[in-house]
Symmetry: C2
Subunit: 465 residues, 2 copies
């Protein structure tokens, strides 16, 4: 009952009825927290620990299970008040080996990697190049019978990663388009901006009713090489992939919580995803997101005065193969959406944050602006109305969860993302500390706000726990 009374003053309940504000004292403490975080290497060390001790952690692998154990132990080591896991089940995909060769007069190896979800198999055929997805989709049914389709689209570099939409569509939709035209195999230029001999993987899907074909991405230099070779003469290529789906695996969302002082049953959620692709060590995708949000929560936990609400840090399971952890969280907490003040996920590398925005409704604009002002000394602009929720919180956001976006500079993100080059050495410790500071300030202030940010509509009942 005490909790219920406090909630009526400070919580999300009746939030729409009054303006959401953050007390001045909390803003002053957040400024201290910001400086503490900037001077700390905790986020960097946590990211180092995960990417070094576990390394790559493909969802459902032995290493993924080790990552779950690592996250629980790390949350405890960092002083989180409560640590628990929630199961997440999904189909398991494995990569075992992969190779390709140009055959004939210009015989030479090509460097590629299977797309996640590709079946295994060896295919050999003439390569037919398409400049983009639309060209492949326009190919007549049967026109690629016995051939290997090759989409050679060059993804654009952008600070906000906006080039990846068109790039990743080549991966998600290209294989099905190739099958419809009769192709025996599918190749694409990596959906990345790198110039190194490191191909870019990522999940693909095959439309219902189609028989999947071996599908892989060439490194950018190899795609350029194949294009030059095709300009000389027709080319036959052999692609050999040993990979595929193998039953169902269960992993876990790993959750740590710093208990709030007044409304512990309400939470500000931050996090990243614990799984990675198998080629690198999952440093920028998304060891950094896990490490920096774990550190942000831990630094809040070390403050003299806890915020009103709890800080919940979630290391989501299997984001890479279809937001399995985020979907599971949304399902498992469907009744709790109003207990979530607001959420922000870090899953765009380890570059500096340059912009803040949120889904704050009209009644929370003051608090939203207060958060933005506290972030401004970090070089972060307020860009209301921009962006959307991070991937793992998007299923829950669709149920009414309020979200914030701390936009990272992703100019070089797609040089590394999903490639063997996603390794710890690529992380700038100062940039990571700026991220920790931003997440800590954001989470602390949102958890201290009087009033809500619009998560769902109806008042939340006091929790039974």
């Amino acid at each position: 009952m005490t909790v219920g009374l406090v909630a009526s003053t400070l919580g999300t309940a009746f939030a729409a009825a009054r303006e959401t504000r953050i007390p001045d004292a909390a803003i002053a403490r957040a400024a201290q927290l910001r400086e503490t975080a900037l001077a700390s290497d905790l986020g960097y060390r946590v990211t180092e620990s995960l990417t070094t001790e576990v390394g790559a952690r493909l969802a459902g692998s032995e290493a993924d299970a080790r990552a779950v154990a690592w996250a629980q132990a790390k949350f405890r080591e960092l002083g989180y008040d409560r640590v628990w896991i929630e199961p997440v089940s999904f189909p398991k995909w494995e990569r075992r080996s992969e190779s390709a060769q140009v055959l004939g007069a210009n015989a030479q190896p090509l460097t590629l990697t299977a797309l996640g979800g590709s079946p295994g198999g060896t295919v050999e055929g003439e390569v037919v190049r398409f400049a983009d997805l639309a060209a492949l989709e326009a190919a007549a049914p049967g026109s690629l019978a016995g051939k290997i389709a090759f989409v050679d689209y060059t993804m654009a570099r952008a600070r906000d990663g906006s080039g990846y939409g068109a790039g990743s569509r080549i991966r998600s939709r290209g294989p099905s388009a190739a099958i419809r035209a009769g192709a025996a195999g599918y190749l694409m230029r990596s959906a990345g901006t790198g110039s190194h001999r490191n191909p870019h993987t990522g999940i693909t899907r095959f439309d219902d009713g189609l028989t999947p074909i071996p599908s892989a991405a060439l490194s950018v230099p190899d795609a350029q090489q194949l294009t030059r070779l095709l300009a000389l003469r027709p080319q036959r290529v052999r692609v050999a992939l040993d990979c595929g789906w193998d039953g169902t695996a269960t992993s876990h969302n790993v959750i740590g919580e710093i208990r709030g002082s007044k409304l512990p049953h309400e939470v500000v959620l931050i996090g990243g995803h614990l799984d990675s692709w198998d080629l690198g060590t999952g440093a920028i995708d998304d060891g950094a997101g896990v490490g920096l949000t774990m550190a942000a929560g831990a630094l809040i936990g070390k403050m003299d005065k806890a915020p009103a609400r709890s800080i919940r840090v979630v290391a989501f399971a299997n984001e890479e193969q279809g937001l399995h952890g985020g979907n599971a969280y949304a399902r498992q907490h469907a009744k709790d959406v109003t207990r979530h003040q607001i959420a922000a996920e870090s899953d765009f590398g380890a570059g500096r944050i340059y912009a803040y925005s949120s889904s704050a409704p009209a009644h929370a604009k003051v608090a939203d602006e207060q958060i933005a002002q506290a972030l401004a000394p970090l070089g972060i602009a307020h860009t209301p109305g921009k962006g959307g929720p991070g991937p793992d919180i998007s299923p829950f956001a669709a149920q009414g969860l309020a979200w914030a976006r701390l936009a990272q500079d992703g100019t070089d993100y797609f040089d590394l993302h999903h490639t063997p080059d996603d390794t710890f050495d690529k992380i700038d410790p100062q940039a990571l500390a700026q991220n920790v500071a931003a997440y800590a300030v954001f989470a602390y202030l949102a958890a201290s706000a009087e009033g809500g940010f619009g998560s769902a509509a109806k008042p939340v009942a006091p929790p039974s726990e």
Copy 2:
């Protein structure tokens, strides 16, 4: 006899007796040649052709034989007056597969590549890290029994590549030092400056009387990862290499000549090496050197007036595994050293040339300065006394061959060299054109000089051919 008379005026004969000079008319023509070459993409296109149509060409491989055929055809296509091959035999080494894993609590794959000359085999053992070669060489005999030695030396970046001396010694001497201490396997941080997940190969040797052990280089990020892991706890690693020596192979030096107008039996030699390591496509090492010197010769061949001496362009066989082509050339032409006016090899990538120097003796200082002045508009400084002959001409230089050095900016050379990333896309066409211009100007002027540059001491007899 006529030839003999001309030689006494213009040639290397009696060169020591008078000052070597380049006629003004030749200098004027060289200035035109320089502008023609700067505006030409011929060197870039020849390099593209080799690296695309043949790709990687490990000495003795099927692709190496294709490269020999390619070079002969390309010389002819470029209008060279004479094209021939000279056999070069050497032991053949092959790479088939390679992998490594950290075992135990931090199980994860490591990216490495066998050193050229390594035997195959699978070794599993505890890793003992050494900060540099001296530390390994100080290890007591037997102290590494059953273990894997790991030298984690970080090579320095430098425009002139001077960091590679210390870096490559780790590769050439490290394995033998490890064997002396009893090690079962040898690992090193790649002798390169790159930060990508692409390990750096290169030849190693085992001292006589030692039983070779599997020896490989980790990519730089993997070496850093292993070092972090070793800071946590002892680590066992399994290294599996399938590679090794397999009999003897014969390849060829491929030679094209533009016939001189007055002293066709005397030559200015330029060139690069035709073979490459197998990981990339041998673009900067040394497709560029072959392509740019072939183009330089071809542009001289297209001039209205041929220079007095012949321009000989040599695409040397098997430089990588021990200067086999350069040694063969020196052996096969031992009697002809005085017929060689001067020689320069391009084997340091595709960066801009920033300095010129030569072994010109006192009597050739005027001509040397004339060449330097003709190169100056290309941004090339005269640095008398610096450097030495390129690798493939060094065995012949030891017999008295005069050499010139056109020093390339190698700041990023060791980011790419001997790695999978040595691919055509890394070459800047403008920088390559500057190289072509420099080699063309140098070769044309040296071939036009009245007097010699000091190759050997005694007068050359008129050739029998």
